[in-house]
């Protein structure tokens, strides 16, 4: 049975239909067409599908889509402003924090959730913030450095 769902996605109102009981990840990708969100495990384990719901990080694969009615959702598709990348996206490029790139959308949203509430995190806080996101390529260090770089605001493209 299809159920109507309405929410805000990256600042714009969205109304769609989804099968009852569907997770948010599948609704974003298949019903809304936001392919910036990636699915990894559909078990809440890998963090690849992390989005922000009302500013808080959530793994969209184990989030019931119907529970998001009326809420504000952010994905990586909404990070850039026109031609300008988000400072986190720039810092990820500058620090070679994306290798295969599959974990990158989830990493970016986990990092954004941190910086939105704590603009000057310690390294330990960055490690905790991305602790639920698995990366099999980089060994995490470039990602940690990218988040710290974005927090300092000293990436070269912005300078």
């Amino acid at each position: 049975m299809k159920t109507p769902i309405q929410f805000r996605l990256n600042g714009e109102d969205v109304a769609t239909f989804a099968e009852s009981g569907t997770n948010l990840l599948d609704v974003l990708r298949e019903s809304v067409g936001d392919l910036s969100v990636k699915g990894g495990c559909w078990q809440g384990t890998c963090g690849t599908c992390t989005v922000l719901i009302d500013g808080a990080p959530r793994v969209s694969c184990v989030t019931l889509a119907e529970s998001c009615a009326g809420r504000s959702i952010e994905t990586t598709a909404g990070l850039r402003r026109g031609a300008d990348l988000h400072p986190l996206q720039t810092a990820f490029m500058e620090n070679f924090a994306a290798q295969c790139g599959y974990c990158t959308p989830g990493m970016l949203m986990a990092a954004k959730a941190l910086l939105d509430r704590n603009p000057s995190p310690t390294r330990e806080e960055v490690v905790d913030a991305i602790g639920g996101n698995i990366c099999r390529c980089t060994g995490y260090e470039p990602i940690i450095q990218a988040v710290l770089t974005a927090a300092r605001g000293d990436d070269r493209r912005r300078a």
């Binding site: 049975m1 009852s20 078990q43 809440g44 990080p57 019931l64 991305i130």
Partner: protein
Amino acid sequence: MTVTVKTFARLTEAAGALSSERGATFLSGGTLVMRAVNEADPSIQTIVRTTDPNYAHIAATSGRVELGAGVTMAAILAERDLAYLHPAARAVGGPAIREAATVGGKLFAHAPYGDFTTALLALDATVMLAGGFGQRELPLEEFLTRREREAALVAAVAFKRPGNGELRFVKVTRMHPKGVAVLSIAALLPGASGRVSGARIAYGAMAPTPVRAKMAERALEGRALDAAGIAPAIAVAADGTAPVDDAIASAWWRREILPVHLRRLLLGESASMRRA
């Protein structure tokens, strides 16, 4: 297979639906139930949920603490009056999981998950159930033995607020900062500065559900928390446990390292997260 979702504004209405409908599963934070739905678990035909704000209430300032079953790990970490529970709440997943995982949902997690419940068991928590019969309370220890058969909705948990420094917790993992538990230990140690009286020790991942370490508790009675005082408790640390072999650790290894980590916890030498 089609799953029907029924959302109720009031907890009592959701409890009634859960009790009366076969094949109904209550959805709290979603980290367990949505995983099963994604895997097309045929036992889940109807999802019952509630938007009742009482389901996520926190009453933490008096001697009796009550946590709505919908309180998330993130909400606990944001509450200064629950600082003694922060190590156990922080041990659950990464930030995105902690925003979803709830006190009530954790009661149903299978080993090696459910570390937070280990802390509640050490606190001698009571589970408050709502159903077609009205409300009733059950000791957490008893609830854990019958949770699979329980048709009532877990509305809240309650426990006596521990004294300063009385609750200790450690989760032992193979990966940091986030890893599945090799084991976890929670210990309520009244009189921790002198002789221990009425200790409650609980283990996670040492049996299908969190379990009490009753032999170790008895051996600790009246003893000081020093190397000589805790030695009898360490000697019987693994008594009554029934860990399983899984991808994280073998049952044998869990039994081998349990006394090591219990010893460190009792001596105050343990961080809340340790590598195995």
